[in-house]
Amino acid sequence: MSEFVYLYRITEAARREAMGTPERAQQSMQRWLAWMQQLESKGHLKDRGQPLELGGKVVRGTQKTVTDGPYAEAKDLVAGFTIIQARDVNEAVELSRACPILDGGGSVEVRPVMKVNP
């Protein structure tokens, strides 16, 4: 078993669309809970991860300039992450296909956790 990080990326507009009416919010939530539960029941869930605020600060360059960001209008903001276990990257990708973020125009980035002692 290897570990993978799912990085959830979404735009603010897509997120608001997915949660736009109470009924849609309910459906989005239920789909997420079901998906997470499925990962967990099959033993793939290593760490549920943390949700991230969509805004913050960016510190950049040798000048260490601080700017606001990432901006809410920006595409593909990282909205959170989860750590899962899978046989290989193919299985990790396969599992991610059922992620509800995909229905709302977001994406899941599947990144293998680097093995320190391969």
């Binding site: 949660m19 009416t21 109470p22 009924e23 919010a25 309910q26 939530m29 997420w32 549920r48 991230l52």
Partner: protein, 416 residues
């Protein structure tokens, strides 16, 4: 922890009530934004952390904190609720004032005020109902349009028109207003229409329609919770809703087909709703006035009292329909009266009564008028006439369930 099926819809209504209490109804859109924000946060957090022990409290707290932020940041640039403008002037008072707006009894009162405001006499009844569904039941335009067989754009327009009137009023209806009793009757009428849309409406999605009935009952119970609104007439309305809703489980038979009142398996009626309905009917009897709601509830109670269809007291039912015609005549009432006469006397008398309905042309597109003719013709052995009526009814069917039902009736004419 599982999510309550209606958590987001019902919490949306409660949060909007508390937030408009703080922001003022002219900032309804801001209140709705805050609610949506709370939902977005809930999704992000709950999906990884799981649903909290008390999800409603979690949502409320999120909305409350956001409200405090907004008031703190924008109180110089924006005017909030006129009732609270003074209190919100002092920095130290913001948190307690916001807290108070989220107290359970305040939310209840604000929901009532919102309901009364949605029933502004300047708004047409269809707008009132759409507003109630949107703001107090948390349905989006899409869900409302599927329940009403209307286009989404038309419903959106209806809601926008209503919200404009709401916002221009500056403040919500005051429950201590001298107009209270007059407005209460408009509110009851809107809830009655909401219930009927669910019970008799044309939408094929029975799940959507059951939801409308449930919401109408929920809001009527909310009215009854407030003593000045708990008049005999409101109890009569609750009675008629409960007694009709009790039949919902039996309206679709085991094979998924429509089952008319006379054929229903009465053991599938919801006994609890029947009891609640009869209880409301008792309480409705204290006044002097006999309203249309009283009579409709009494008719439903007479049906509920018959354990088998042949125990039905049709004479009593016809007498009640006669009274109903006296105060609230309509072609639909006349149609039901004619059916009852057919049961009390015989098919001929029923057909006579059907033929004598005054503004019968208003039933031109209603499939159950020709269907009633078909039933009675069939009963007196006039198969050809029955077939013609059922064919006419089938051509008017509004959804697949009605089509299936009428096709079956048509087949019966061809049997034996």
């Amino acid at each position: 922890m599982d999510l309550n099926e209606h958590l987001f819809r019902h919490e949306s209504s409660r949060m909007v009530a508390a937030l408009t209490r703080i922001f003022g109804v002219h900032n309804l859109a801001l209140a709705e934004d805050v609610v949506q924000d709370a939902f977005c946060r809930a999704l992000e957090v709950w999906k990884v952390r799981g649903v909290p022990e008390n999800p409603s409290a979690w949502l409320m707290l999120t909305a409350k904190n956001r409200a405090i932020d907004i008031v703190r940041r924008e109180r110089t640039a924006r005017t909030f609720a006129p009732e609270l403008s003074r209190a919100l002037d002092a920095e130290w008072a913001i948190a307690p004032v916001v807290d108070a707006a989220f107290a359970a009894h305040t939310i209840r009162d604000e929901q009532l005020r919102m309901m009364f405001s949605c029933c502004h006499p300047q708004l047409k009844e269809d707008v009132q109902v759409a507003l109630i569904l949107n703001i107090l039941c948390g349905f989006g335009a899409h869900e409302i349009s599927s329940a009403f067989l209307a286009g989404r754009a038309a419903i959106e327009k209806r809601i926008a028109r209503g919200k404009k009137v709401l916002a221009s009023a500056k403040r919500l209806f005051d429950l201590a207003d001298a107009e209270f009793i007059a407005r209460l009757s408009v509110v009851r009428r809107a809830l009655y229409l909401l219930f009927n849309e669910g019970y008799h409406g044309a939408s094929a999605e029975s799940a959507v329609r059951v939801e409308l009935c449930r919401e109408a009952i929920r809001l009527t119970v909310l009215l009854l919770d407030y003593p000045p609104a708990a008049t005999p007439e409101t109890h009569a309305l609750a009675a008629l809703m409960c007694l009709h809703a009790a039949r919902i489980p039996a309206r679709i038979d085991a094979s998924g087909d429509l089952s008319p009142l006379l054929d229903q398996d009465r053991s599938r009626w919801d006994a609890q709703l029947v009891t609640q309905g009869l209880d409301h009917l008792d309480r409705s009897a204290s006044g002097r006035e006999m309203t249309a709601y009283h009579i409709e509830a009494a008719i439903a109670a007479t049906h509920a009292a018959a354990r088998r269809v042949d125990e039905t007291d049709w004479a009593a039912i016809v007498a009640l329909y006669d009274r109903l015609m006296g105060i609230a005549s309509s072609p639909i009432v006349a149609l039901n009266r004619a059916i009852a006469i057919g049961e009390r006397d015989n098919a001929e008398r029923g057909l006579d009564a059907l033929g004598a309905i005054a503004d019968r042309d208003r039933l031109d597109r209603y499939p159950f008028y020709p269907a009633a003719m078909g039933e009675l013709e069939l009963r007196r052995g006039n198969r050809d006439a029955a077939r013609a009526h059922f064919s006419a009814a089938l051509a008017l069917a509004r959804n697949a369930t009605e089509r299936r039902f009428l096709t079956k009736r048509l087949d019966t004419c061809n049997l034996s």
